[in-house]
């Protein structure tokens, strides 16, 4: 076995206890060996192992989306992001555990068991890209791919103490990403550092004729680390610092803000007045789109099929009833309900209109001279496993600071800014559309000065 392939496989095997990797060890070793032999030595990511969330299609490994309904499914094609990673010399280091079809905030809703937080086994790593975040945090891989619909890269990155980037909608091709909410979905990158995550994002970004929602733009160019934040105006949206915010999270944010000011940034308070409606808006639009996107999983075209059924409709119903887990079933039902006759205007149309107002809030803030917004990524550090499983609304509220960037299609990044009783806390920058370079500059500058592993 080649050096890069073997050491990547060894590191991944060492953290098996996290249940973050779905690919069997033997298959992983064989594939890494083959990939390492074939990798282009001139690529900018040559030899870099990158783990991939299991809702991104790969030729090397199965793509199950953490669901029983796709158990053993092997895609006949691969995602454009994977093709680009391989062309840059990266090694695809297996598929990572996730909430089923990316629906969840804890990686507890996986048909293959929950993933474990790398620093505290009683807690969740966040979700839905929890397996990717846990592997990066445990040092098994320097970077991983995740996907975002409402914060599924940034929230687990914050919980696990790593960097997570969600690009602007249209910056990265979604070809080969199993669709959940098509107007919200984006592939994102997680890394040990801003640089690791940004390098991966840069490689996977850029035009793709296979995805009509991907903008016709060149790949993202990485900025240099700035000397200071002298020219930056950073907005603090008051709605993201409510009076009931976890005091330790507030302390960590206050310290990060003080450090940015010391770096020369001008900081001013702004208002995004429709923020309070972001979670309800998201939980109408995302399930509505999911109910349509997941209609294709019927036991005929993909995966296992229910047996002993009388007719084709019974086949669909039984396969879907048995194949989908409780959270996916719940969201399909909510989505079907809000799109059904008599409720469409009250829920779906209303949510679409609210989405426009939320996007307008951001435009107003940026029009008033703010370059970036800074907020906590999550209201609390990682919560206990099982704590929110029976209360879907409480679980949804853990996305309260992340869903807005998805609704408005904006880029955002979570950077570790401290610890609370040993658990990581993340700070979030939200940038202007297609100005990821500016957002990354600020993240580089903050990362350089913030004591990310010290108590806030």
């Amino acid at each position: 076995m080649t050096g890069e392939g073997k050491s990547a496989a060894d590191r991944l095997v060492k953290v098996k206890r996290l249940n973050a990797l779905l690919t069997p060890v033997k298959e992983l070793r064989k594939s890494l060996n083959e990939q390492a032999s074939a990798a282009r030595p001139t690529g900018v990511l040559y030899g870099m192992p990158v783990a991939v969330k299991d809702n991104i299609c790969t030729l090397e490994f199965t793509t199950t989306c953490g669901s029983k309904i796709l158990e053993g499914y092997r895609s006949p094609y691969e995602a454009t992001a994977i093709t680009k990673l391989k062309a840059a010399g990266a090694l695809i280091a297996g598929k990572t555990n996730c909430d089923e079809f990316a629906m969840g905030s804890s990686t507890e809703h996986s048909a293959y068991g929950r993933s474990i937080h790398p620093l505290d086994k009683t807690r969740v790593p966040g979700g839905s890209s929890g397996g990717s975040a846990a592997l990066v945090a445990a040092g098994a891989v320097p970077a991983a791919l995740g996907s975002e619909t409402g914060g599924s890269v940034r929230q687990p990155a914050s919980f696990c103490g790593v960097v997570g980037i969600k690009p602007t909608y249209g910056r990265v091709s979604r070809y080969g990403l199993v669709a959940f909410g098509s107007s919200l979905d984006q592939i994102g990158a997680l890394g040990r550092s801003v640089h690791d995550a940004a390098r991966v994002l840069s490689v996977i970004s850029g035009r793709d004729p296979k995805d009509a929602t991907c903008e016709d733009r060149d790949p993202l160019r990485l900025p240099t680390v700035p000397e200071s934040l002298q020219s930056f105006v950073i907005g603090l949206p008051r709605e993201y610092f409510p009076s009931d915010l976890d005091p330790a999270v507030r302390r960590a944010c206050d310290r990060a803000i003080r450090l940015m000011k010391e770096q020369g940034a001008a900081v001013r308070e702004v208002s995004l007045p429709h923020t309070q409606y972001a979670v309800p808006t998201y939980y109408v639009i995302a399930p509505a789109e999911a109910s349509s996107n997941l209609a294709r999983f019927d036991g005929v075209r993909y995966g296992p099929r229910a047996e002993d059924v009388g007719d084709v409709r019974a086949l669909y119903r039984k396969t879907r009833g048995e194949g989908f887990g409780p959270e996916v079933r719940r969201r399909i039902l909510v989505g079907t309900y809000v799109l059904s006759s008599g409720y469409y205007d009250a829920y779906y149309r209303r949510a679409q209109q609210m989405r426009a107002l939320i996007a307008q809030d951001f435009r107003n803030a940026f029009d008033r001279g703010v370059d970036l917004l800074f907020t906590p990524t999550t209201p609390t550090p990682a919560f206990k496993a099982g704590e929110k499983l029976n209360d879907p609304v409480a679980m949804y509220l853990s996305d309260v600071f992340t869903v807005t960037a998805n609704l408005a299609g904006l880029p955002a990044i979570s950077v570790p800014i401290g610890r609370v009783k040993g658990l990581p806390v993340g700070g979030q920058f939200i940038g202007q559309a297609f100005l990821e370079d500016e957002m990354l500059e600020a993240a580089y500058a903050l990362e350089r000065v913030v004591p990310a592993t010290e108590e806030a």
Binding site: Y277, V284, R317, Y347, A351, L357, Y396, A408
Partner: protein, 97 residues
């Protein structure tokens, strides 16, 4: 906005999803809570008449609804024994009896 057991069963039928009796009470309770929660959108003021926001390239948002030429190298009239008025002509079923 609470939903009933019958509402859930009707929606499940629309969604082609089998729901077992055992999980039905929990689904009714959880769906009611979710719908109650998202119903706060109705109370929000100032969004009537707002055009929906759709992210992505303008070409997707405003693509003209135009009829394009056949994408095939050879038209369908060349692919079938009989083609008339935009349709493939097939034998009547009683010709097989």
């Amino acid at each position: 906005m609470s939903v009933t057991r019958d509402d859930v069963l009707r929606i499940a039928q629309l969604a082609e999803l089998e729901v077992d009796e055992e999980s039905l009470p929990t689904l009714v309770e959880q769906m009611s809570r979710i719908l109650d929660y998202v119903a706060q959108l109705s109370a929000a003021t100032g969004n009537n008449g707002q055009r929906p926001f759709v992210p992505g390239p303008d070409a997707i948002r405003f693509r003209p609804d135009e009829e394009n030429p056949w994408p095939l190298a050879v038209g369908p009239d060349k692919l079938a024994p009989a083609f008339k008025g935009g349709f493939f002509v097939v034998p009547k079923l009683d010709q097989f009896e």
